[in-house]
Amino acid sequence: MQYHAPANVKDAVKLMAGSKGATHILAGGTDLLVRMRSGFAEPDNIIDIKRIKEMKTIAKDGKGFKIGAAVSAAEMNEHAGLSKTWPGLVEAAGLIGSTQVQGRATIAGNLCNASPAADSVPAMVAAGAKALIRGPKGIRKVPVEKICTAPGKTVLKKGELMEAILVPAKPARSGDAYLRFIPRTEMDIAVVGVGICLTLDAKGVCTAARVSLGAVAPTVLLVNKAARALIGTTVDDAALHALSSACSAAANPIDDKRGTKEFRTHIAGVLARRAAVIALNRAKGKS
């Protein structure tokens, strides 16, 4: 196995495109090293992107943010601007693993690992985030919900790497929230994850919403029906009930050691309601 630590993006792309055998990007390493240890990944080349300055920074991107692919969840939580604007996204990142894991793990890596249960992905989708992908042919921006095609598989082509996550400007009177269900209080893989972002008008009526579910399908879901349950309402009890039902209906989970179909389907509805209430309060300016 060869280890490379390029100093800039250009070199990283060159390495990605030119390397022979199984080539993996190393950001936080909290997924890759685990897979290497269990034999699920046997890299021939590892490209460590943490020496690339722009990948380690959170920069303003217009009124939004550009979160470098090597920025850790802990660094996101320490960024005052990002935490204030997108608390749901930042909290989601802060739920990945333990304090130790958050010290290394990145949301770009979380996305590229393409686990159906990734914690930061529903929150990114709810926020309308896009992935900035750079390859030999240049850059492209892809909505996060379109990145994963199946468990463990993404749309990244040979030679491409994810350079940053682009989080849009937050519309006025908007709030985002992410909740997940786990059996303990920390450390577990999400059994269900729900990310919601909603926008209200001056009268408190919801004008836009994005509802995203994780761990209940092979890839993250963006549930338009659930969003429509909120749009045009004041997010009252009836709307929340419709939201819950839509989310349970959209869930298409498997039975596995972390949860049964029935359980996940039920919890998707429960968490959607709870997440919507938090997002609503944030949109109203309450904490």
Binding site: F181, E186, K257, V270
Partner: protein, 750 residues
């Protein structure tokens, strides 16, 4: 003179014992200096790795190691062929340590390699070709008992039946305990409740994986460094398996990162020794976490029927239990202990407990803290709880009414001596926890538990240094802080400051035999032996003083750390301190030491009452522990901080067992959650503070009244938490773990 249990008076007032002194091995442990199993190296050391069966049940037709042997850096490969004849009592261990004709569970060791690097060993492992013929498997205890189940051992015929069956089965043995007439007793009851309970297998969950470093010489002598609860056991078993004399093998116990019973046997040590013998170099083997879960010794999964009859006034008229435990692929589950402990907290006229020891295609079980008892208590205490609810009786009052007391005939036969169950119940009743207000979706549960506690073979040596300090060598590995307590007992007896005594764990060449650290025996037995050894030394010190003063030895007494004339008639002699006598030891006959080798008897049983409040989230089934209080009888708490530690640790293991821990097997018989991610032990944020109330009803069998405390603390929690959740949910929970999906199911929400 050794302490005579039941005859000699107990010491009641103490200078050192009972104080929270600093722990002697603490500094090394907070600085990272302490050396655990995997922390040792040796010159020329090789790394050993074990190849494990991917099948739950399979015939091993052929193993071809030729390609593996060709890997550069490989110095030895072993299979079952390298383990020859051995004593009968370790035949099962030999087979578990390395599969012979069949792989009996997913993870069963089939071969091992020693190489100059882990990478070379890993590569070699991949090149070992094993020809398996997959066989049908069974992992569930009830399924394994059916006539249609695949028979795992064609030579296993159920013991303990009136007639030995002609057909082999997976039922190794039937046990029965009890007295009286349960049918008559049920007829006397106003209400009879019966349920079947199921619990899943759990693992002790020690954070330190098994690790050892074995070094064999061409002269047939060897050394082992390993983390273990019993290095004398390791020596004897490994010597037996490798055909060595016990004296040829010296085992040193490293610091141990948790055991809880799981390290009272061997898994990798004989393999490391066999590799080292072949390679003629030291071999280090460290289990990975996944190997620990797949291939060390979890506890049994169980299926238990309990039927109890109660009168309206709360009198229990009869108790009947049938317990089915699977202990993995070999006989020897803890079902007899479970059957004996099931009703131990109750003084019953009519009681019966039948146990079935069943084998399955799972790893060979090992002890887990009060083995067998937590599951039995779960079932019995749940039914008692339900009877109390249905008859609208207070659960503590019912237990006070029926509880075992001094002189009660235990359900498993003997009469109890002085015991502390009532004291724990009264403490529970008087505690503010019992009056704390409960809110919506909250419930309170109480349960009692019991453990026998053991004495066992124990050897201790106490040396008096010429400067008056003392060295104490014990042979029981310290898994919980016992060095502090044992040293303090010796210091107390000698009358010297506690920091003048240094207690170490000596190797197998330095002491007589010591049974493993189990049965909550160490503070009791090594402590008792240390006290006896101190008294032995005191006798010799008095004799030296008598010689110096030229008076009869009977005229010398020992008080406050000094020899003194026992009466004015003996003459006017200034007391001589231990240090003063020790300084003259060379001139008065040589070094002074005391020792004690006993098979300790008089271990006192320990009872506990646990109280827990939980809150359930009715929409998700999540259970939150709100309050937890442990009331347990310690006899005499030598070091209260470490007694509290045992109470808290056992309670939290019980919380994990009750709520989230379980072995999950797929239909293919393979373990699906062989890691700490999906084998979910409690994390700090899952828990509140655990209040520990030490009750002291001295044990007449120990000079200071000590009772073992390590195991009883895990016996009540499964039941207490289940009773609490059942109360909060309004429905009786009958399966563990009570993970969120099962709670929601019980609530009828899914």
């Amino acid at each position: 003179m050794n302490f005579q249990p039941g005859k000699d008076a107990l010491k009641r007032s103490f200078d050192i014992v009972g104080k929270r002194t600093p722990r002697p091995d603490g500094l090394d442990k907070v600085t990272g200096k302490a050396r655990f199993g995997a922390d040792m190296t040796a010159p020329g050391m090789l790394w050993g790795l074990i190849l494990r069966s991917p099948h739950a049940h399979a015939k091993i037709k052929k193993i071809d190691t030729s390609r593996a042997a060709a890997v550069n850096g490989v110095h030895a490969i072993v299979t079952a062929k390298d383990f020859g004849p051995c004593p009968d009592d370790v035949l099962d261990i030999r087979e578990n340590v390395m599969a012979r004709e069949k792989a009996l569970y997913d993870g069963h060791a089939v071969a091992a390699v020693a190489a100059t690097s882990r990478a070379a060993a890993k590569q070699a492992l991949k090149l070992i070709e094993v020809d398996y013929q997959v066989l049908p498997h069974v992992t569930d205890v009830d399924e394994a008992m059916k006539a249609s189940a695949p028979v795992i051992n064609s030579k296993l015929f159920t013991k303990g039946l009136d007639k030995t069956p002609k057909k082999a089965s997976n039922i190794a043995e039937r046990f029965e305990f009890g007295h009286g007439d349960v049918e008559k007793g049920f007829k006397e009851a106003d209400l009879v409740v019966e349920h079947t309970f199921k619990t899943e297998a759990t693992h002790q969950g020690y954070i330190e994986p098994h690790a050892c470093l074995a070094s064999m010489g061409a002269d047939g002598r060897g050394d082992i460094w390993c983390c273990t609860q019993g290095h004398f056991m390791v020596r004897n078993v490994c010597a037996g398996l490798l055909g060595m004399d016990a004296s040829a093998l010296r085992v040193t116990a490293s610091e141990i990162g948790g055991g809880f019973g799981g390290k009272t046997t061997v898994f990798i040590e004989p393999v490391a020794l066999a590799l080292s013998l072949k390679a003629n170099r030291p071999v280090k083997i460290v289990m990975s976490r996944s190997e620990v879960l797949r291939a060390s010794g979890p506890t049994s999964s169980t299926s238990i029927d309990v039927k109890i009859g109660m009168k309206k006034d709360g009198t229990i008229t009869a108790g009947d239990a049938t317990l089915r435990y699977q202990g993995g692929a070999f006989p020897g589950s803890a079902v007899p202990y479970g059957a004996m402990a099931a009703f131990a907290c109750y003084d019953l006229k009519n009681v019966r407990a039948i146990g079935y020891d069943v084998i399955t295609n799972r790893p060979k079980q090992a002890a887990y803290r009060a083995p067998g008892a937590p599951m039995a208590a779960y079932a019995v205490e749940s039914v008692v709880d339900e009877l109390c609810k249905k008859l609208t009786l207070d659960p503590l009052d019912v237990r006070l009414k029926n509880c075992s007391t001094d002189g009660s005939k235990a359900s498993y036969g003997p009469k109890f001596d002085v015991i502390g169950l009532k004291a724990t119940l009264e403490a529970a009743k008087a505690h503010p926890h019992y009056k704390a207000k409960l809110g919506k979706n909250q419930g309170r549960g109480v349960a009692c538990g019991f453990w026998f506690n053991f004495g066992g073979e124990t050897s201790v040596s106490l040396t008096v240094n010429s400067d008056g300090t003392v060295g104490l060598s014990v042979g029981t590995p310290d898994i919980g802080g016992s060095r502090a307590s044992i040293g303090n007992m010796a210091a107390e007896e000698l009358g010297i400051p506690h920091d003048k005594v240094r207690c170490i764990i000596a190797d197998t060449a330095s002491l007589g035999y010591n049974d493993v650290t189990d049965g909550s025996r160490v503070t009791f037995a090594s402590g008792l032996a240390a006290i006896n050894a101190a008294r032995d030394a005191i006798g010799k010190l008095c004799a030296r003083a008598a010689g110096i003063w030229d008076i009869p030895v009977e005229a010398v007494t020992w008080e406050h750390g000094a020899a003194r004339p026992s009466s004015p008639n003996a003459g006017k002699h200034k007391p001589m301190t231990l240090a003063e006598i020790a300084a003259q030891a060379g001139a008065t006959g040589g070094p002074v030491a005391g020792h004690c080798e006993i098979n300790a008897e008089g271990a006192g049983v320990s009872f506990a009452t646990h109280m827990v409040d939980t809150e359930i989230d009715p929409d998700t089934g999540h259970v939150k522990i709100l309050r937890y209080t442990v009331f347990q009888d310690a006899g005499k708490a030598i070091h209260p901080s470490y007694v509290e530690g045992q109470f808290q640790g056992g309670a939290v293991q019980g919380i994990g067992w009750a709520l989230n821990e379980e072995y999950i097997y797929g239909k293919d018989g393979k373990l699906q959650n062989a890691g700490f991610l999906d084998y979910r032990i409690p994390v700090a944020s899952d828990l509140p503070m655990i209040d520990a109330v030490i009750v002291e009803v001295p044990n007449p069998g120990h000079p200071y009244g000590v009772r073992g405390v390590g195991e009883t603390s895990i016996v009540p929690p499964l039941a207490a938490i289940s009773n609490s959740v059942s109360s909060a949910a309004g429905v009786r929970m009958t399966q563990l773990p009570m993970s969120p999906p099962s709670v929601l199911k019980a609530l009828g929400r899914i």
